[in-house]
């Protein structure tokens, strides 16, 4: 969990560490006032029995509460992941449910995107690991949010801009990673 401290030092938005009790195996982290990105985006899933917070009917776009467009949110996601990767941390489980949008404290500040759940994260400088990280997110988008291609494209655009030089190699590797898997292409 030392990532959390390192990451916040590198300027990545992560939950603040409030308390650590190593002997008891306890970690206290900050409560983030806001909502998970997964809930903010249209999902195609059959509503689970618990329902999504009871009310959130489809006629009302939950993003309106944050005064943010889908595109701007995707931009925030891209930038935040790029900051994390620039610090050479790989999240290991990037999904829209592992990102939160923090409600702005004052009316004139903008909402912040916070990355959470670093349970599977590790330190790596490898292009491969970062590309797989992005691929996991792409798959999470595709499987939970229908018609998500344009959304993920704008995540990548913001990510690429922030990554700078490293992006060329990463993009090429991401294309490679996408080709993996069975029975996928027309080959064989």
């Amino acid at each position: 969990m030392c990532w959390l401290l390192g990451l916040s030092r590198s300027g990545v938005n992560v939950p603040g560490v409030r308390m650590v009790d190593a002997s008891e195996g306890l970690l206290g982290i900050e409560w983030i006032e806001g909502s998970s990105v997964k809930r903010l985006l249209p999902s195609g899933a059959e509503d689970s029995e618990e329902g999504v917070d009871g009310v959130s009917a489809e006629d009302q776009n939950p993003l309106d509460a944050f005064q943010l467009s889908v595109d701007a949110l995707m931009g925030l996601i891209g930038v935040e992941i790029a900051k994390m990767h620039l610090a050479d941390i790989v999240h290991g489980d990037l999904t829209t449910s592992n990102m939160m949008l923090r409600r702005p404290s004052s009316p004139d500040s903008t909402p912040e995107l916070v990355l959470i759940d670093f349970g599977l994260s590790y330190h790596s400088t490898l292009v491969e690991d970062k590309a797989v990280d992005l691929y996991v997110l792409e798959r999470a988008f595709a499987s939970t949010h229908p018609d998500s291609e344009p959304m993920f494209a704008s995540v990548l655009e913001a990510y690429g801009k922030k990554m700078g030089k490293e992006w060329t190699a990463l993009r090429r590797r991401l294309d490679d990673v996408r080709l993996r898997g069975r029975k996928r292409s027309m080959v064989g």
Binding site: K38, S43, G44, A45, E46, S48, E49, E50, D93, T95, T96, S97, V132, D133, Y135, V136, R139, A140, A142, S143, T144, P146, R180, G181, R182, K183, R184, S185, M186, G188
Partner: protein, 374 residues
Amino acid sequence: MPALLKQFGPLKNPDHPLLALGLEGSANKLGAGVIKHAPDGSSMVLSNVRHTYITPPGEGFQPRDTALHHRQWAFKVIREALDSAGISLSDLDCICYTKGPGMGAPLQSVALIARTLSLLHDKPLVGVNHCVGHIEMGREITGAKNPVVLYVSGGNTQVIAYSRQCYRIFGETLDIAVGNCLDRFARVLNLSNSPSPGYNIEQEAKRGKRLVSLPYTTKGMDISLSGILTAIEAYTQDKRFRPDGLPKFTDDQDIITPADLCFSLQETVFSMLVEITERAMAHIGSKEVLIVGGVGCNERLQEMMGIMARERDGQVFATDERFCIDNGIMIAQAGLLGYRMGMTTPLTKSTCTQRIEIKFDRFRTDEVHVTWRA
């Protein structure tokens, strides 16, 4: 058989009882089964017959010989399925067969049988995706509503969740299937192929005590198994390996037995499967896991999945070998659901596909339109 009532979704209750025959033969099992959907929305398994092509220890099954086996046993198996259901072919509403994916030659043999029966008795054909068959049968038997599905068999390893009339693949194997990995290691150890190599690995593993170190290869939501197979095979060349499982001399403590290797292989690959399933559950927010496919009847896998699900306050649904291992009834179930939604396969389209032959006829699990769910 529990009679389950379906309340929601686009599927209407039939106005008279419907009967379907399902024919399955995508791998080394030939299955035939008859299912009945009653007007009250319940369904009932009338018969479920299977014959497995078993090869000698150390050998796998070849497509040609498997196809021959299916052709030789087809009449007997179908006759038995009809007799124990107490119906004749003319009572059927449709004939369902496995369209793919699977091994080419066996699939073709069974498709040919299905076509012949359909023409002889003037019954509509329904081609069924094998994986969707597994999922629908699992849902029907266990009553799971909207589970994350772990589909593990000799040919497939996928974590699947339902969304917008498609079963979407969250994670899958990048190379070989988990059943394939276990079966091939059974061959290395020369374990019997009867009733199945995976079953014998499971029995052997119960006596294992030593956990040898193996690579743990999850890649994002996907897993890779071929390297693990190579690594575990390498242990059989190790100096400490005792093929008979017995120490060579009295002080021979530091030994690795076949049972230890089976145990280690199972623990490692099942942990990986549990991990990717848990991640899919966390992301979707589902508390139900359904395990289907031949490896799904492995009790150790069910146990490990159960521990994970309990920690998440969830529940595991699994079936026994009658419905886990390839069978005809699951093809009948998925086919009849499709038939009730008006999906039939005209004779000229009643092909089968091993994997993806042409660009426009892809047949991954996530390319099937599931019309009968909301």
